[in-house]
């Protein structure tokens, strides 16, 4: 309930950048194959459906937050479920956020190992990523939001690069439209949840937004931007690859970047893979930040302890998941989890919140106040 100190807060339109930056990450380079598998050449419809459902979930999420004055999900959990059940829910959510952080790190490491450095160990690469991430998280949410903003400004042009695929595209590959069963298309949309997830971060940054009434607008704009970019990459991939080819291409986006050539630069995808660090770094920062806040709420220990713990976990586990096979298995498990947590959970939670806050719709003084943060 405590309003954070004003110097930690940021303008509401940055919510657009935070939402967009956390959604765009390790999913976009290679999501086309997974959606194509069930939905075939109607995969673009799946992307649109997934986008719409993300808007619906985000709508309920922001509605939940607006029932409270200035709370994050951890406080809402404790208000809804009471002390112990609330703590259990918080523990689960914290674990989910830490896992998301881990998923991003290992997937990006896998991309680096495949495209650039097959010989580099996962440990050394995750050490670099985590060293930068820890420095950023110690700066607090304002710095992290700023990094998300700058990362988008510096990398937005990459979305336009698929234009280079223009000479090779075949429009007839899109047809016939709707020749797959609706269930297949819906299954494709469900697979997309891994790519579009991340907007649940609004649950945690909400207390730090200055003009809270505008959160809804900017969250939706961020989601829309992500949906449009996913749609663009999906459609271009469908037009560029033949069906079987797409099934065998692990990172269709990067493969399409291979077309690009300049007089001074060939193999653009080498540059793209490196530049992708600017895109995934905000994700690591945001997930790590949110999870260590949960850690502090659960244990009452400092967030620095939480950072150390998360880093040790990621470093240790990154050695276990080193092959594409294992990472793929983990990704599909995570896909199920994220479908439930990011897409379904806000919708399920909303009636409960309505019930709990029905007497005092605008404020709920019973919610314990958040402690003043040290690293936030």
């Amino acid at each position: 309930m405590n309003q954070p100190r004003p110097q930690w807060m940021f303008s509401s339109f940055l919510v657009f950048f935070v939402v967009h930056t956390i959604q765009v990450g390790v999913g976009l380079p290679g999501f086309q194959r997974y959606v194509y598998e069930p939905a075939g050449n109607d995969a673009w419809i799946s992307v649109i459906l997934a986008g719409i459902s993300s808007h619906i979930s985000a709508f309920f999420m922001v509605k939940i937050l607006q029932r409270y004055h200035s709370c994050d999900l951890y406080e809402i959990h404790e208000h809804l479920f009471g002390k112990w059940l609330g703590k259990a829910a918080n523990a689960l959510y914290t674990a989910y956020l830490a896992m998301a952080c881990f998923i991003i790190v290992i997937n990006y490491i896998d991309i680096i190992q495949t495209w650039l450095f097959p010989t580099f160990t996962s440990t050394s690469l995750s050490l670099i990523l985590l060293a930068v991430a820890v420095y950023g998280v110690l700066g607090g949410i304002r710095v992290i939001a700023g990094f998300g903003f700058i990362s988008i400004v510096l990398t937005a042009w990459m979305a336009l690069l698929v234009y280079f695929a223009k000479p090779y595209i075949q429009w007839d590959q899109l047809f016939p439209i709707m020749d797959h069963k609706l269930t297949d298309i819906l299954e494709g949309a469900r697979v997309m949840s891994y790519t579009l997830a991340g907007f649940e971060i609004v649950f945690f940054i909400y207390p730090y937004v200055k003009e809270k009434e505008k959160t809804m607008r900017y969250t939706h704009l961020g989601l829309l931007a992500t949906t449009l970019i996913s749609l663009e990459l999906m459609v271009v991939a469908l037009l560029y690859f033949e069906g079987e080819q797409l099934m065998k291409t692990a990172w269709a986006t990067f493969t399409m970047y291979k077309i690009i050539q300049f007089p001074f630069l060939e193999r653009f995808e080498f540059l793209a893979v490196s530049l992708w660090m600017l895109i995934i770094m905000p994700n690591i920062l945001l997930y790590m930040w949110a999870s260590i806040r949960g850690f502090r709420r659960l244990t009452g220990r400092s967030q620095r302890m939480g950072i150390i713990l998360v880093c040790i976990l990621i470093l240790g586990l990154s050695n276990v998941f080193t092959t594409r096979m294992r990472i793929d298995q983990l990704d599909s498990v995570f896909n199920q989890i994220t479908f439930f947590i990011a897409f379904l959970y806000p919708i399920l939670l909303y009636p409960l919140v309505l019930f709990k806050t029905r007497t005092k719709p605008d404020q709920s003084a019973t919610v314990p106040a958040a402690q003043g943060g040290e690293a936030d």
Binding site: S11, I112, L116, F117, A131, G146, F264, F270, S274
Partner: protein
């Protein structure tokens, strides 16, 4: 002065001899002079530090009138009336007498009296005004600050004549007692910034400071950072422009540099000249400087990364000439690059230390000789020499010398990262750099403003400079009370063609 000795709070002795002895006990300085004038009972003594006073003034404005007065002298009362000096104090304790003498005043004492007068005839040693050297410009005023605080304050005051220009003076340095002045325009400068600045200066506990740059480092927001957080400038026009933007300026006695804050990262890439030339040219130069910032930090690392790890990104036609050039070089690219960067820094440093004329010759001849010899000896490739030289050149486009040095230092870790992890290493370095800049503040104001927090309206004068018709409002960065510079409505615009 040493107020812990209670004895010096005692009144002056009525015997000049005793007084002189006790002052000599305090100021153990062979330049301490006592001059006696008069005879027959009326003896005036002048006590002063020979090296601190202006001898002409002593002759003309003190000795001459006093000698004239001696005949009808009965007590000290008349002395203030005849001395044509502006600063004159009555001195009653030895403590203040000693303090005044140390500041270049003359103590006038008469045997038999327990008080005396002190007159300020201190001689300021300073050089005359000269051209700005570290921030030289083509257009605009050319004058630079000097080491004298009074002259510098005068230079500022001559340009800004509003009564709202506030100067507050204080002393810093327990031993040097350096006088410093805090300058701002009341109503334009933000109260909180002034307080932060003042509070940081007041909490300084140090024995001595010699230059504003030292004070700048001491009161910096993050003294561990490579980047400067407060602008150091020798140009009065830059100071006055900053004052009008609502910034706060600090000057110290003995330093030709002014410290301006709060500053943003982009302020270090602005020159006042950008306002003297037309907007298109100014914007072009601004962007050129920012491009050269990226160029300087990234070009050599990219070369190292491409040649060490990512041969494939170089088109084959280009690769041929690069490989040809490198064919005789026995070292890995990272070693080659570090060696050349080191040589460039060596030349720069030697050029800065040597006397001006020798330095220039050394720089050019050394550069060509060492460069050519290094290639012929097979130490390095021509292409890398070109790249390193371009990178060094780019770093000198930053109008702030401090920022230029910071950029040059950043290259070294970047090259090492590129050599170890290729493109991934460079991007890790870039991420770290961006995060670092995001975490910095200047007097508790965001350092990367107006990029972050983004403020479109203030981008008119950051990476670009728009025409002055856009400058009706002051920058919001300094949050001054008065936002208006002028009314943006000018003469009526004709909207119709040929009307």
């Amino acid at each position: 002065m040493s107020s812990e000795h209670d004895s010096y709070l005692l009144p002056l002795s009525d015997s000049t001899e005793e007084l002189y002895e006790s002052i000599r006990g305090e100021i153990r300085n062979s330049e301490l002079t006592r001059k006696q004038i008069g005879t027959e009972g009326i003896v005036l003594s002048l006590i002063y530090l020979r090296t601190m006073i202006d001898n002409d003034l002593l002759q003309r404005d003190i000795l001459a009138p006093l000698l004239h007065l001696l005949n009808e002298m009965t007590d000290l009362e008349k002395i203030p009336d005849v001395l044509p000096v502006s600063q004159l104090d009555t001195i009653e304790t030895i403590d203040t007498a000693v303090a005044r003498i140390l500041q270049g005043w003359v103590l006038i004492h008469m045997d038999g009296f327990t008080d005396g007068y002190a007159v300020n005839i201190m001689k300021y040693h300073h050089r005359g005004l000269s051209q700005a050297e570290t921030e030289s410009q083509i257009f605009g005023p050319q004058v630079a600050f000097t080491e004298s605080l009074d002259i510098n304050l005068g230079l500022i005051r001559q340009t800004i004549m509003t009564p709202n220009l506030v100067t507050e003076s204080m002393q810093v340095g327990l031993r040097t007692q350096t006088s410093i002045s805090l300058i701002y325009i009341d109503g334009l400068a933000f109260e909180q910034n002034i307080n932060t600045f003042k509070q940081r200066l007041n909490s300084l506990q140090i024995d001595g400071v010699f230059d504003t740059s030292t004070i700048g480092q001491l009161i910096d927001d993050n003294s561990y950072s490579l980047f400067p957080h407060l602008i150091l400038t020798e140009r009065p026009d830059r100071v006055t422009a900053s004052l009008l933007e609502g910034k706060i300026v600090m000057m110290a006695a003995g330093s030709p540099y002014a410290l301006v804050g709060p500053a943003t990262f982009f302020d270090f890439f602005k020159a006042t000249e950008d306002h003297y030339v037309r907007w298109g040219m100014a914007s072009f130069i601004r962007m050129l400087r920012l491009v050269s910032l990226a160029f300087s930090t990234l070009f050599t690392p990219v070369y190292v990364a491409a040649l060490t790890h990512h041969y494939a990104v170089i088109p084959s036609a280009l690769l041929v000439s690069i490989v040809e050039s490198r064919s005789k070089v026995p070292f890995p690219p990272i070693f080659e690059a570090l060696l050349l960067e080191f040589i460039i820094e060596l030349l720069r440093e030697a050029g800065a230390r040597l006397p001006t004329k020798v330095g220039q010759t050394m720089g050019i001849v050394g550069g060509i000789v060492i460069g050519q010899a290094a290639v012929q000896a097979g130490f390095t490739s021509n292409i890398l020499i070109m790249i390193v030289a371009l990178g060094a050149l780019s770093s000198f486009t930053a109008p702030s010398y401090m920022m230029g040095s910071a950029i040059r230092i950043v290259r070294f870790p970047m090259i090492i990262l590129a050599g170890l992890w290729g493109g991934v290493g460079i991007m890790a370095g870039v991420c770290f750099l961006i995060l670092h800049l995001l975490r910095q503040t200047s007097l508790d104001n965001p350092y990367l403003y107006p990029i972050y927090p983004p403020r479109i309206s203030d981008m008119k004068d950051s990476m670009i400079r728009l025409p002055f018709s856009f400058f009706a409002k002051r920058t919001q960065f300094t949050r001054g009370a008065d936002q208006n510079r002028f009314f943006s409505k000018r003469y009526p615009q004709h909207t119709e063609i040929d009307e």
